[in-house]
Symmetry: C2
Subunit: 507 residues, 2 copies
């Protein structure tokens, strides 16, 4: 018999695509919680069919999860597993497991879920014909971009570009986004040292590059800060200084680390000391820029050090960094992988700083669900084709999703929601801190949306007990509890979180 | 007015998903080519509605493409752009642009499209509810894996695992897959040097790791080969030795490169010389393993050096490498990013070698449309959680797609198709080489499926003229024309390719 796709497939192709119906699915949860349609405070919920409250049925992991973990362990390392998740049953701010537990999620896949699980608007984007094409016809973007790539960028990634940075190089995730930005910085710096983009490489540069030796592979560096986290590939890990477990046994470049300000809290009581501390850090940064034996081509910094313990610095500090980089003719890279896309109550956290000129590059990932670096200066396009290049150079499927995320953020005004909800939550935590001063120390993140953290003397226990009272919560650094709710986190969720935390503190 | 998602969205959600109908779309092309339904040689085509022949309507880029390129250039570097592509109009082995040109694609997104554009089976997977969930609920796989992750792995990625390598660490793309494998190698090596997984890190190791200094950041290396390509992030680029443009101005680790055999063709005329050359390379590899000042933790090698010019070596050479790594207690990493998933007429190219024991790790990406490294030895799971970790650790959406690709490969017996078609194509090229000895030099890839290449004294011109005769074809290294057709490339496509090449050679 003649065999062909046509004879096998048309019926299947014609089959209507089964719909996911998260709202119907999750209506079940609604009845398990409170019965009111709106939240108690009169706020209109973004997800009316969200659970009204967490549901805790078993210890976590429960028996069904344990079975699944055991099976997965045979083929996949599960020692960092936190919760075996059923995403089909997760909805909005709530994450579900296999044992009927449904937790309020203020960790959100390490700060990477922007607008709620099974968000209906994203579902529409995910089931669109253009998404299907992007999934099955993945292009090598540098060689064979899809004809509507400019449109996808302009209506998505670039529609929220930081001011002054109207171009983008797309990537896969935060770690390679940073490394690509570093590469752009090195190429830019060497071009300057060489005397311009028209100067050709010397034979010695070409031959030494091929043996990984200077001058072709230059003895330049990226300056980062103590406790910074910029990723875990070899270049990004060389700028990461968060925890030994991230770095041990991995070869690293001999690159400099400057001290990051260790601010004292509450800020208003330590204004002078903190200003002096920031000045000290700026001075040491400048010294390293001038004196480090492998001179920096760029400084990279997070607006709030996230993995490293939620360490903040003032706008003044960051303005100082921007000035230092200008003064010494090196680039200023702002790593907004965790802070970007609305979490701090601005779309980009560096908008809080009031810079007189934009950063040279801003990297993004996580809540964007795609990654890359923004830039504005044409000099950051290397002087020849194929210098900054790889096969996929990002993923249009994920860029299409980010466009839908951006539209959802704008439609629901979620950056403002996060600013307002963040203030509400911060005030609630400040009250709790007064009541339980041993539990909430160094509360930080005021005016930074929901990007809030505090130190705890029994941090790991707090995180663990969180599950038993229905909240999924994460840590950062050695002792910080970090909140990373989604942008659809509202005041009624904050109330649940505050009540749950108090239960833990009382216990 | 009360505002909620429910009031805004239900009608849209209920809307049936519009179908992509590539077959109907492409029927138009059929009439433009030859009229016979089956190929002339009686072969049953996998894509009966594929164009029968290329269609060249304009110079490439044509006027519509030029407009689109100009627009994209404003926000995205387009200097490496090869063809502005319309993927909705591409089908099977044929790639379309905006000007009505439809080319036979034997480059396939730098060897990364496995089973044809708009493959209907992949379309079904891409429009499935589980794909939609994977797109909108992207997990942090190390912390919150989806409950069916083991199932997705076992029925997909792991169902085609190389013999002996039943575990996987998933990644985003080839470059980070290799770097994660390198990290696993370094952790393994240091653990051995330390005396076992139970030995704790010393304080000195911990403090020195945080300043990027030895012993915490050890002075170890990965040995790679001259002309190798393993990616372009900082660690992988340090093992890449393909072209200066890939490496210039980027800092690199001081890691060793061994010579890769420079075989002479035709192989049967230079058997003794080639064997001596391979022996020389093995000896030099061993010398570097023993003497390089930053000792290697692993050797990484491509089964066929791809970007570096399509350089082949014999199974004997690779068996020798495997023995050397065992002898010196270091790991053997096979980079199958470009060779894997069927292209050489075996699912994994290293199956051609007849190794007595499997490689320690095999990395994959490209045609898999996802990435990672396979391993078998439990010692390659680092001794503590979070040592090998990142936020996303891959992408279930792409893993689900790979499962569909694997099913399609099995259903249509595409590895065997590629072996058979490859032999047919190789023989046709060998005939052409006799007729045009100046055009096809050093023809290579016999018995390696469609992974075929030759050297050309006017390579860039041949690639360019390819478009004018209707074929999209790529190069590698300095002078190689490389063929990277999809696994659905059949004899009737080979006939078109051979005819088109002859047109170029005659001109």
């Amino acid at each position: 018999m003649a065999f062909s796709l046509r004879t096998v497939l048309p019926r299947s192709i014609a089959r209507p695509i089964p719909r996911i119906a998260p709202i119907a699915l999750h209506r079940r949860y609604s009845s398990a919680g409170a019965s009111a349609v709106a939240a108690d405070n009169g706020e209109q919920p973004f997800f009316p069919d969200e659970p009204r409250a967490p549901i805790v049925k078993t210890q976590i992991p429960g028996p069904e999860s344990q079975k699944a973990i055991e099976r997965l362990s045979k083929v996949f390392d599960t020692r960092s597993l936190n919760m075996m998740t059923n995403y089909q049953r997760s909805y909005g701010n709530y994450i579900a497991d296999l044992d009927g537990n449904v937790l309020l999620d203020v960790y959100a896949q390490i700060a990477s879920i922007p607008v709620g699980y099974n968000n209906p608007s994203l579902l529409l984007a995910a089931t669109s014909p253009e998404m299907a094409s992007a999934i099955i016809n993945r292009p090598a973007l540098g060689n064979f971009p899809q004809h509507d790539w400019a449109d996808i960028l302009e209506t998505g990634i670039l529609s929220v570009a930081p001011k002054g940075l109207g171009q983008v190089f797309t990537a896969q995730a935060g770690s390679d986004a940073n490394e690509l930005a570093y590469k752009a910085a090195f190429m830019w710096k060497r071009q300057h040292q060489r005397g311009g983009s028209h100067i050709e490489f010397t034979d010695h540069e070409i031959s030494s590059a091929m043996t990984n030796q200077s001058p072709g592979a230059p003895q330049l560096s990226i300056l980062s800060f103590k406790s910074a986290f910029h990723g875990r590939l070899f270049g990004s890990l060389s700028t990461t200084r968060s925890k030994p477990i991230h770095k041990l046994d991995i070869p690293a470049f001999d690159w400099p680390q400057a001290p990051f300000p260790a601010l004292k809290y509450p800020l208003d009581q330590f204004a002078a000391e903190n200003a002096a501390e920031e000045q000290r850090c700026l001075e040491e940064t400048e010294r390293l820029i001038k004196e480090w034996h492998n001179p920096p081509a760029a400084v990279v910094v997070e607006p709030i050090q996230s993995e490293g313990g939620d360490n903040h610095a003032s706008p003044n500090f960051f303005r100082g960094l921007r000035e230092l980089t200008k003064k010494h003719d090196i680039l200023f890279i702002v790593d907004e992988v965790q802070t970007g896309v609305g979490a701090t109550g601005k779309f980009w956290a560096h908008e809080h700083w009031g810079l007189s000129s934009p950063p040279d590059m801003v990297t993004f990932s996580k809540k964007a669900q795609t990654a890359g670096y923004y830039y504005g200066n044409n000099e950051l396009r290397p002087n020849k084709a194929y210098r900054q290049f790889n096969t996929w150079m990002g993923d249009p499927a994920r860029a299409i999703l980010f466009r839908a995320i951006v539209q959802e953020i704008k439609r629901l005004n979620l950056v403002e929601n996060t600013a307002v909800t963040g203030d509400y939550l911060y005030n609630g935590l400040a009250q709790l801190a007064k009541k339980y001063p041993n539990e909430i120390q160094n509360l930080r993140g005021q005016g930074q949306g929901t990007f809030i953290a505090w130190d705890s003397g029994r941090r790991d226990e707090v995180l663990k007990r969180g599950k038993s009272v229905g909240i999924n919560i994460g840590g950062s650094g050695e002792k910080a509890v970090r909140l990373r709710p989604m942008l659809v986190f509202q005041k009624h969720h904050a109330d649940i979180l505050l009540e749950s935390l108090e239960k833990i503190f009382k216990s």
